[in-house]
């Protein structure tokens, strides 16, 4: 089965083609990151405009690189949410128009299912598994007992972990996006600044607003007193605290559900410290972290998720399919 997938939920316009939910024949990603950098974050209206400009070129490149034509495609998969609504609607309507023009069935896929299925590209899922989903918009623990079966165990009660990285980086004047910048700085520093131990009411929930405020207040205090800030050490201290929280909660879930596998998904899965801490703390179970190129938004992961959605439910969407800025993983 040949699946063509479309992703446009934020600031990457992407089309990918896979065979049987495994072999990636092409994965074209047109990133707008340079367009948004000068605004210090993604501007939704600009993102939507850029998606319209790039969408047909990205389709064409994906088919060409895969060496197939539209007639070879058996299923179209498209991100239906969650994400920026204006951006989502461009990809969804492009996918619907393409599917209709070539008489191909279409399925709408949840963006987070895509991030989770990025782990199926180079490894094989083993159930039950725990998925730690970490990005600029999400911090969640998901239990999977079989393919395309998601049970949310917990999530952040305030900021997403990637959001906390972005805000700390912004206050330090380091630029956007904050994750990779802080990760790089942290590799050269030492954890010398005291950080709070994060607590949440529910066992599998997360919280990042306290840690974020602690760091920002500390920076402001030091600046007021005109004391020097060691950016590298501060980055290391913050990063260690942020990642420790993820590791502790994941460990708890893996133990409680006797998971055979821990998978990490989402943009923050590219974080080097998180990757090494996961290796260190989960030697007793299989660990999967997606290759760097599949950590940030891309259509390849959406296509794999679309394949497994279709295999499990044998259900397709109609031409009135819509996009959703908020969406539960079970929908």
């Amino acid at each position: 089965m040949i699946v063509l997938a479309v992703e446009s939920s934020c600031d990457e316009t992407s089309v990918s083609i896979n065979k049987d939910g495994k072999v990636i024949l092409s994965n074209i990603v047109l990133s707008q990151i340079d367009t948004h950098a000068s605004f210090g974050g993604v501007v939704p209206e600009i993102a939507s405009r850029e998606h319209v400009k790039g969408i047909s070129v990205v389709f064409e490149q994906a088919l060409n690189q895969a060496g197939i034509t539209a007639q070879d495609v058996d299923l179209v998969a498209v991100t239906k949410g969650p994400g920026l609504i204006g951006s989502l609607l461009v990809g969804i309507n492009a996918a619907k128009a393409f599917a209709f023009a070539h008489n191909i069935p279409i399925v709408g896929v949840h963006h987070i299912a895509g991030h989770i299925y990025a782990n199926q590209i180079e490894s094989e899922m083993k159930f039950p598994l725990i998925a730690l989903v970490v990005s600029g918009g999400h911090t969640e623990l998901i239990l999977m007992k079989e393919h395309y079966d998601f049970e949310k165990l917990g999530e952040t009660q305030d900021d997403a972990v990637g959001e906390a990285y972005d805000k700390v980086a912004r206050v330090l004047g380091l630029g956007y996006p904050g994750g990779p910048i802080i990760d790089k700085l942290a590799a050269e520093g030492e954890a010398t600044y005291p950080m709070p131990h994060i607590k949440t009411e529910q066992l599998y929930d997360f919280s990042y607003s306290g840690l974020k405020s602690h760091v920002i207040n500390m920076i402001n205090r030091l600046r007021m007193k005109k004391e020097p800030i060691n950016e590298k050490n501060l980055a290391t201290s913050f990063q260690h605290a942020a990642v420790r929280h993820l590791i502790e909660k994941s460990r708890q879930a893996v133990d409680d559900y006797q998971a055979k596998m821990l998978i990490v998904a989402g943009g923050v899965a590219a974080n080097k410290h998180l990757r090494s801490e996961v290796e260190t703390h989960f030697k007793d179970v299989e660990v999967s972290v997606p290759p760097f190129k599949y950590c940030t938004d891309n259509a390849a992961m959406m296509g794999i998720a679309g394949y497994y959605y279709y295999q499990r439910f044998k259900k397709i969407d109609a031409m009135d399919m819509n996009g959703y800025s908020r969406l539960n993983l079970s929908e």
Binding site: S48, A70, A101, M319, D320
Partner: protein, 202 residues
């Protein structure tokens, strides 16, 4: 051998969903209905139903004609993206036209002020002269205060909701062929708020 010219016309830049199927300049089927910020749901759904009813296929089309705004940002993108993907999918010629011009094509003859409501009493509007045969532009599409345009511009009829007439459009120089389908994009007339703020702060 059926050599008829099948044309699909789309506009989603206004609160109304507009879809028309023309065969040899005769209207086969059309929709002109007020939406509820739901062009994303209704456009492809209705196109699919109308094509099914008329036994048309996208690859049979001789042309796709699309209104490219200015108008609702989210709305106009839906129609433009669908037109762009149809045209690209089967190498179909695609033509673009200003949304106010498309509105003016359906008005009574005379000097027409055609506009699309924007928020806060603002509108995207232009002035056109419309006859039985064709449509010419008298004033460029502009983003301005609606009351000011209504009160101070010269025209016979104002229109902001009327079903377009393709036969007037086909004779008009305001209909433009798009040479490279990948270049097809809406006309927004305005930069985004973020870009305007950035320029102001420079």
């Amino acid at each position: 051998m059926n050599k008829s010219l099948k044309r699909l016309v789309i506009d989603t830049a206004t609160p109304y969903l507009y879809i028309a199927l023309y065969e040899d300049n005769v209207l086969v089927d059309s929709i002109y209905q007020k939406g509820n910020n739901d062009h994303s749901v209704t456009l492809m759904d209705n196109i699919a139903k109308m094509f099914d009813k008329a036994s048309w296929k996208i690859q049979d089309l001789a042309a796709v004609i699309v209104g490219i705004g200015p108008g609702s940002y989210t709305g106009v993108r839906i129609g433009v993206v669908v037109a762009k993907m149809f045209a690209w999918s089967h190498n179909i010629p695609v033509f673009k036209i200003s949304t106010p011009a498309l509105l003016a094509s359906g008005a009574d003859n005379g000097v027409i002020f055609a506009y699309v409501d924007a928020r806060r009493n603002q509108a995207f509007g232009g002035v056109f002269e419309k006859t039985d045969e064709t449509l010419v532009r008298l004033k460029a599409d502009t983003y301005a205060d609606l009351t000011t345009m209504l009160d101070s511009w010269t025209y016979d009829h104002p229109v902001n909701a009327v079903m377009p007439d393709l036969n007037v459009v086909l004779n008009s120089e305001l209909l433009e062929a798009v040479d490279n389908v990948h270049d097809l994009s809406p006309v927004y007339l305005r930069k985004t708020e973020a870009e305007r703020n950035q320029e102001q702060n420079k």
